[in-house]
Symmetry: C2
Subunit: 128 residues, 2 copies
């Protein structure tokens, strides 16, 4: 475990992680529903009422708001579906949104991997 700057540490310190706003990326996905919305859209549940079906505990208002926020972060965009009965709109992920999916997936795997029993394990060099 390294401390402060040593020359071997340089690449690490200079990493995007160091300079970027760690939190802006986190805040873009940290709504109560955003992860699930992005996921379901990626699965083809790309219309308002389909998302409502998939997320039965979210109200219309809240869903609309979350979609708007995702749109403002350029994670998805709205698109009118031509020739639809009462003017349908579908939501499609931008490339940014598509790239987010595997990251959310790995976050979720991480959560699940350590879900059971809350057993705490440490790296070998931290053992005692």
């Amino acid at each position: 475990m390294m401390r402060k700057k040593e020359s071997t540490d340089y690449a690490n310190e200079q990493s995007l992680f160091q300079l970027c706003e760690r939190n802006s990326a986190i805040s873009m996905i940290s709504g109560r529903w955003k992860g699930q919305i992005v996921y379901y859209i990626s699965q083809g549940y790309d219309r308002f009422h389909l998302l409502q079906q998939k997320l039965p505990n979210i109200s219309e208002t809240v869903l609309a708001r979350q979609l708007k926020e995702l749109e403002s972060h350029a994670i998805l965009i709205k698109r009118e579906i031509p020739n639809t009965v009462p003017t349908g709109i579908k939501y499609i992920l931008t490339n940014k949104g598509i790239d987010l999916v595997p990251i959310l997936d790995s976050l979720c795997n991480w959560g699940k991997m350590y879900a059971d029993g809350k057993k705490i394990t440490l790296a070998a060099d931290q053992q005692f």
Copy 2:
């Protein structure tokens, strides 16, 4: 873009993503400071006052609270440092915490990759 279950879709639908609590993993890291705290501890800034130096805008109280929350999620643990001047404590990442670091890193890369200009790009099959 697929809809509902088709046999080719099975693996996808069965993915951990589908079954796990997408949000529990997200909520563990979505504090205003948690990402940064985990990162700095991984970089060796493993003591209370070192974290304070690295995060000058966080108050003592809030830092202590965030650390406690991370501890309650088994992302880190406290450990007394023997023979220290006024009883030092250091924070070490559990394996769970260590595994989180590259995920936060990729989240951050993702954020940075799309940071400039907010240009929206779409996948080829969504073009128009």
